[in-house]
């Protein structure tokens, strides 16, 4: 039995209050089940708690959703702390606590592959400052200068006398010291905990069923809710007939949720869902009821030729170069809507009273979840709290928009004093995503008589995520995120190719389907457009795709290095095994440099097999190499799922795919072998959760061309006919 469920409710709420914000993060069930707050141990600082038994709790502000950031961030803190790694565990501070402490833990947002690259400096300083305070406390206890003491493996030694003590013994005294202001950090080349392929801290409970996800949470007296939102975006509820289901087993209440949705609250979720399925609901489908994939495609197509567009990268005169080209190459590509399809559907548990609102939810951004809860609750943030529960996948869906949190609070508000867990069905999750943006792209290239690329024009037409989610960040009609990987420079995603005349612009066209940040974001389609077109240009120039790229990447040594690495390890230039062909792709994004070499075969009947992918990553610094490898492997599952199958289509204003039977994703049978080459060159911090996704599709598409002579320019591949002509 779930241990929380056996606790008397009153007891739980007292525990909840006594624990304050901290221990209710990762450990909700365990701490609550103990029936009392753990001994109050003062923190050394915001990042580090050391208990008298020498166990260490490292606080993690970012959310763990599988990407390993929990372990990586703990390694960075433990590294500077000189901690005994075997005694380290972690916990999430809550968003409410972060707010109350003037954001002591900084940004909680976990997206854009930023977990480590955005916070490495201040978390390491947190560990280093704690170490300095622990050493100082020991030195004061001995009456010796701190400079004569050294810390290693959670033990402090006074070197002249040989006396030792442990962190646990001096932690309370250390907590009373003034934090140091000058906190030097170790050179990464001297790392002993960071930089190593340590096992994750969260693996064991994921192999025995003990890991608690949001969907698993149970609170005393809790009810369950199932919801249906208007399947057409922009539509609303016209009417529903609650009386028809009021007497069904377990049903407690049928409630409107805003203007657009209805929820059934019951004792169990299955009964809530059963009643919801039986509930007569009439929809007002609103102004978008006639929109279809075809009508959206027409709008985007017109954008390819529109005179007005926001510029992302311009040099020289691309139009003139194209007009005067010895050879002109032109192609149009397209990329569809896709759902994140996290394995765990959206869910949140909310408890509302007129005085306070608490929410337990898997979120990539606890602070944004708190803001959403506060708004929906009609209470100031200080009277609300969010407890982050482990995520069953995030991929961007659980970050910027907390629509499910608002719904859960809205429902709980109609059941004051009773905790209610809202869980979306898979169908609800598929129909109410925040979809990968839809775009088309027309590319025109100019080759001179020697086959050199002298000009490139690239017109992107389609959706802007920023316009959909943070419209206040659109300046002069320009969404900078659209140009991921295509920018003229910068640390985020610089376009590596030196082309004398270039024009990359975006005609923003926003359909009614809401866009979202989808793992890899705009880098995904931009890499398809650029890297497949580079292959087309190389072919038109009669040049080897590797050599063609190398010539253009001469001034971009890091781009070139990962490309060279996959070419070499992937066997480029050497004969492929019988029936197989290879394709290349490279790009920079999320601060890292990535490349892939795919090896595929296509049967005469047109069946594609992806045999092997060699992938290289230069993330600057590597905090946990085996977890980076896991992210690279996983990126091919996500990226190839998208390339092979991923598509949400629109009919009568609504998404047509409702479950994995109509929205297939990659399974083990289709998975290629992946060789991950990690080549951290140092000196910068790049992300690893997303960039590799972008090279998955173009490497495979280019390999398909090499195998069949067929260019696939519209994803997903399932629509392509790869049979030999």
């Amino acid at each position: 039995m779930n241990r929380i469920a056996s606790l008397p409710r009153r007891g739980f709420l007292q525990v909840s209050a006594a624990l304050g914000a901290f221990t209710l993060g990762i450990r909700v069930p365990e701490a609550a089940a103990q029936g009392a707050a753990p001994a109050a141990t003062p923190e050394v600082n915001a990042w580090v708690v050391v208990k008298p038994d020498d166990s260490i709790i490292i606080r993690i502000a970012r959310s763990e959703m599988g990407q390993g950031t929990l372990t990586g961030l703990a390694q960075l803190v433990a590294e500077e702390l000189n901690a005994d790694w075997s005694k380290v565990s972690t916990e999430y501070p809550t968003p409410g606590q972060n707010l109350a402490r003037n954001r002591a833990w900084g940004n909680m947002s976990t997206g854009g592959s930023r977990g480590i690259r955005e916070s490495h400096e201040y978390v390491r300083k947190g560990g280093a400052a704690a170490r300095m305070m622990l050493v100082e406390a020991a030195a004061q206890g001995w009456g010796v200068p701190a400079g004569e003491c050294r810390a290693a493996n959670s033990t402090i030694t006074h070197q002249p006398s040989g006396r030792t003590t442990t962190y646990g013994k001096v932690a309370e005294a250390a907590a009373k010291l003034t934090p140091p202001t000058d906190v030097p950090l170790r050179d990464p080349k001297d790392w002993t905990i960071a930089g190593r392929s340590l096992p994750r801290l969260d693996t064991v409970e994921k192999t025995n069923g003990k890991q608690v996800y949001g969907a698993d949470l149970t609170l005393p007296g809790m009810l369950n809710a199932a919801i249906r939102d208007c399947p057409v975006f922009g539509g609303k509820v016209a009417s529903f007939d609650a009386a028809k289901v009021a007497s069904m087993p377990g049903v407690k209440k049928v409630v409107p949720v805003g203007e657009t949705a209805v929820a059934v609250v019951a004792d169990t979720w299955w009964r809530a869902k059963t009643a919801l399925d039986a509930l007569p609901i009439t929809w007002d489908n609103g102004p978008n009821a006639q929109v279809s994939s075809a009508s959206i495609a027409e709008v985007l197509k017109a954008g390819l030729e529109a005179p007005e567009a926001a510029i992302g990268n311009r040099a020289g005169d691309a139009k003139a170069a194209i007009a005067g080209a010895a050879k002109r190459v032109e192609a149009t590509y397209g990329y569809p809507f896709q759902n994140h399809a996290t394995m765990e559907p959206m869910n949140a548990t909310a408890l509302w009273t007129p005085e306070r609102c608490e929410v337990w939810t898997p979120t990539q951004n606890g602070e944004a979840a708190l803001a959403a809860a506060s708004e929906a609750a009609g209470l100031p943030p200080a009277k609300c709290e969010v407890y982050k529960i482990h995520l069953g996948g995030g991929f961007g869906r659980r970050g910027a928009v907390h629509d499910w949190v608002r719904q859960a609070v809205d429902i709980a508000k109609q059941m004051p004093g009773t905790p209610v867990k809202l869980l979306w069905s898979r169908e609800e999750d598929m129909l109410h995503g925040r979809y990968h943006p839809i775009t088309q792209c027309k590319l025109t290239g100019a080759l001179d008589a020697q086959g050199n690329l002298t000009g490139l024009a690239m017109r992107i037409s389609g959706q802007s995520i920023v316009a959909g989610i943070f419209p206040q960040n659109i300046r002069d009609g320009r969404d900078p995120v659209v140009f991921q990987g295509l920018s003229p420079g910068g640390e985020e995603g610089a376009f590596g190719y030196a082309i004398p005349n270039i024009l990359i612009d975006h005609a923003m066209r926003n359909p009614h389907v809401p866009p979202g940040f989808w793992r890899g974001v705009n880098l995904n389609q931009n890499a398809v457009y650029v890297e497949c077109f580079m292959d087309e240009l190389a072919h038109a120039a009669g040049k080897d795709p590797l050599e063609f790229r190398r010539a253009l990447l001469r001034g971009s040594p890091k781009h070139l290095a990962v490309l060279n690495a996959v070419a070499e390890r992937g066997g480029w230039g050497q004969p492929a095994p019988e029936g197989r062909a290879r394709g290349l792709a490279q790009i920079m994004g999320f601060g890292s440099y990535v490349a892939a070499c795919a090896e595929v075969s296509v049967s005469p009947a047109g069946e594609l097999t992806i045999h092997k992918i060699t992938a290289a990553t230069d993330p600057g610094h590597a905090v946990n190499p085996q977890q980076i490898a896991a992210q690279v492997e996983g990126s091919f599952v996500y990226g190839l799922s998208a390339a092979l199958h991923g598509e949400c289509t629109v009919a009568e204003g609504r998404i047509e795919q409702e479950n994995f039977d109509t929205y297939p994703v990659m399974r083990m049978m289709e998975m290629p072998a992946v060789e991950a080459i990690l080549m951290p060159s140092g000196g910068f911090w790049g992300g690893v959760g997303e960039p590799t996704i972008a090279v998955a599709a173009p490497a495979v598409l280019n390999a398909i061309f090499a195998a069949t002579g067929k260019r696939v320019r519209q994803l997903p591949l399932k629509h392509a006919d790869l049979r030999r002509a």
Binding site: G66, D202, T207, Q211, R271, M343, E344, G393, E633, M669
Partner: protein
């Protein structure tokens, strides 16, 4: 009302006959290691053993079972996480978000019980569970390791 033998214990459950086994396990028995992913037997996150056979519990009503059928969930696979697959999973750090992993391990355990030395092709053919984080290659390697092989990805 249903009587089910779950992890060696017979439990009496007051639910409607058409309640899926998954939801009885999660909501009435209180074992939440078995996950809801799709509800239509597509993803395998709900996989349990019924008399040793991997079964997608989201699509089987409790009325299809009686107390003579032994249902085993991830919590009952081993008393202390010592099943060879669980040990291999830990050794290779297989899980990412972990949500699909109970189902993966249960599917793999049924495979090994029927086929103690599966080939790569056997594994790829039999394990049809969905993982969105992308653990497939480590899952495959861990199954091989648990089966006594040492092959890496393939």
């Amino acid at each position: 009302m249903a009587r089910l033998n779950i992890n060696g214990r017979v439990v009496e459950i007051a639910v409607e006959d058409d309640t899926p086994l998954l939801w009885a396990i999660r909501e009435q028995v209180g074992l939440t290691g078995t996950k809801y992913g799709c509800g239509v037997a597509q993803c395998g996150a709900c996989t349990v053993h019924v008399d040793g056979v991997a079964t997608r519990s989201c699509s089987m009503p409790v009325s299809a079972f009686d107390e003579n059928q032994k249902i085993v969930t991830i919590e009952g696979l081993s008393p202390d996480g010592s099943h060879p697959l669980q040990k291999a999973w830990v050794a290779l750090d297989v899980p990412q978000c972990g949500y699909c992993q109970s189902g993966m391990i249960m599917a793999a355990a049924a495979l090994l019980a029927a086929n103690p030395k599966p080939s790569d092709a056997d594994i790829r053919g039999e394990i049809t569970n969905i993982c969105r984080c992308g653990t497939y290659n480590r899952v495959q390697a861990a199954i091989k390791q648990a089966a006594g092989g040492n092959q890496a990805n393939g």
